[in-house]
């Protein structure tokens, strides 16, 4: 099993090295920064920063589906007729929207560590345990994202008139079909601007995971800054990289919005 994962990983790494926008064959650092501190390879910090860029982007992309799915189900729970389900959903949102993201991250990171340690101690293993920062970051950011996401989706659900569900009943759809064929397409269209904002917030929150040791943009540039004593340059590059990520995603989101709105009548 691990062989399969290794093969997938090396394949992905190869594709990544080809399309790497910073240090790949057509990378920015490779062409414009050779001979400076940002050169790729052993002479500069370009490849380390490029790796951090990849880690940041993949953390955000890996967190998105987790947060969306959890958020969708919590939104469903919060608009249910069952009181206890609504209450449970509201507790979830209140807690994870109210806690600072950094604190959530620490709670998840150290909490997981303690839990795993206790679990392994019952199995008879006593030793140091290190939780993967990527996984901890994914859980913490996913939980926070889902709390916000459920609110966005809830208000989108409220914007869909009851008649749409009745139309689904009239066509003889069962509940799953109504949801999938009638409600979801409209839900996505209504919720997309809100989800775009959440995605931007998620992208920015990934920088926090560097605090627990994930080698993302901020950590890699931070190491480079400490070693070279050129802190302003390196943190400036970190800011620019985050800006680039934000720009790419705003372009993608406006394209998405246009494509979901193509069915609407143009006025």
């Amino acid at each position: 099993m691990s062989g399969v994962f290794a093969a997938i990983y090396s394949g992905l790494a190869w594709i990544g090295s080809i399309v790497d926008p910073l240090c790949g064959p057509i990378g920015v650092f490779r062409w414009f920064a050779s001979g400076t501190l940002f050169a790729c390879g052993d002479t500069g910090w370009g490849d380390e920063i490029a790796y951090g860029f990849l880690v940041t982007a993949s953390l955000a992309i890996a967190t998105l589906p987790v947060g969306l799915v959890i958020g969708f189900f919590i939104a469903l729970g919060k608009q249910s007729e069952e009181k206890s389900l609504r209450l449970a959903g509201n507790i979830y949102t209140t807690i994870f929207r109210g806690l600072p993201e950094l604190l959530t991250l620490f709670i998840v990171y150290y909490g997981l560590q303690i839990l795993v340690q206790q679990f392994l101690a019952t199995l008879g293993y006593e030793g140091p345990i290190e939780i993967n920062a990527f996984v901890a970051g994914m859980i913490a950011l996913g939980v926070v994202f889902s709390a916000y996401c459920s609110e966005v989706l809830l208000s989108a659900f409220k914007a869909i008139p009851q008649g749409q569900y009745e139309a689904g009943d009239a066509l003889g759809f069962h509940r799953g079909q109504t949801m999938r064929l009638i409600v979801l397409p409209q839900l996505i269209r209504i919720a997309l601007p809100g989800l775009g904002n959440l995605w931007m917030a998620l992208l920015k929150d990934t920088a926090l995971v560097s605090v627990v040791g994930l080698p993302d943009i901020l950590r890699q540039t931070g190491i480079a800054a400490r070693v070279t004593k050129q802190a302003f340059q390196f943190f400036g590059v970190a800011c620019i990289l985050f800006l680039i990520l934000a720009m790419i995603s705003s372009v993608l989101f406006s394209a998405l919005e246009r494509s979901t709105k193509r069915a609407e009548m143009s006025r």
Binding site: F106, T206, F235, A246
Partner: protein, 276 residues
């Protein structure tokens, strides 16, 4: 032909059909049970691990951390509000240069993480130490607290400028025209007619921004400012007691919920003339 001689006696309505035990009810009870178990578990671990000595040692430092967090948030929000005015005016200005500059400012501070901005100021400006010393500003940027305050002010000014701009532009054109028709000078029209209406629109986003700042202020702990988060980290690193994080979580949740409720009340109160 028969005539009904007696009325049908009044009867109680038929009993409501029993509610079926649905799947959502099952899930609701399960999730509520999970929350209850978590709550009880946390309470029990705190009750079992209760240590008066620890409480007396770290309780005051938690309170001072809370004070630092609140001071930081309040002062940066207030200074940011002052700074956001020219930025918002720049965003709405017809002058290309001003509007472009304001746009770039807002885009930079909203597009990058707060923690990166903080590092850029705290560590980054250290590279310019000789220059800063020569203009006599080094004493300011040497201190982590000042850097945090500076960064947070700039950051929240960008967000507040967007809130302000959106709110001012949401006031309908007719209001401007009505003020002009009454012969009011532009200044008076702005302060007496446009701004009060804009502020009602801006109230809720302002509340959200304050909450975001309270939550965002936790990151100053990383640059050695001992706010609530910093005190928590210090206490945790000395005791390795997980409870410390639970206490911090409770305090943060309390702050945010309190503010949210105050804001809901404030909004209901200030918009009561708009209710229909």
């Amino acid at each position: 032909m028969s005539i009904a001689e007696t009325m049908i006696p009044p009867q109680a309505p038929p009993p409501a059909p029993p509610k079926p035990y649905t799947l959502s009810r099952f899930f609701g009870s399960v999730f509520l049970g999970v929350w209850l178990a978590l709550g009880v578990g946390i309470f029990l671990t705190i009750a079992n691990g209760w240590d008066p000595e620890k409480f007396s040692r770290y309780g005051p430092s938690f309170l001072s951390g809370l004070g630092v967090t609140l001071t930081l948030v309040v002062s940066s929000i207030l200074m940011g509000a002052v700074l956001s005015f020219p930025v918002a005016l720049g965003r709405m200005s017809k002058n290309r240069l001003w509007s472009w500059l304001a746009y770039a400012y807002v885009y930079f501070f909203r597009g990058t993480p707060l923690i990166t901005q903080l590092f850029l100021v705290y560590y980054g400006l250290g590279s310019f130490r000789p220059q800063l010393e020569s203009i006599g500003l080094w004493w300011f940027f040497r201190d982590a607290w000042n850097c945090a305050l500076f960064t947070f002010t700039l950051n929240t000014a960008a967000y507040q400028a967007e809130i302000l701009r959106g709110a001012i532009q949401s006031v309908s054109r007719g209001q401007h025209e009505a003020a002009a028709a009454l012969g009011l000078p532009e200044r008076v029209a702005f302060f007496k007619i446009i701004l009060p209406q804009a502020m009602i629109v801006a109230l809720r986003p302002y509340g959200n921004e304050i909450i975001l700042m309270i939550k965002g202020s936790a990151i100053v702990a990383i640059v050695t400012v001992f706010d609530l988060m910093g005190e928590t980290r210090r206490a945790f690193s000395r005791t390795f007691d997980y409870q410390m994080y639970v206490w911090a979580a409770v305090l943060y949740l309390f702050m945010v919920e309190l503010l949210r409720n105050i804001w809901a009340w404030l909004e209901a109160r200030l918009t009561r003339h708009l209710k229909r």
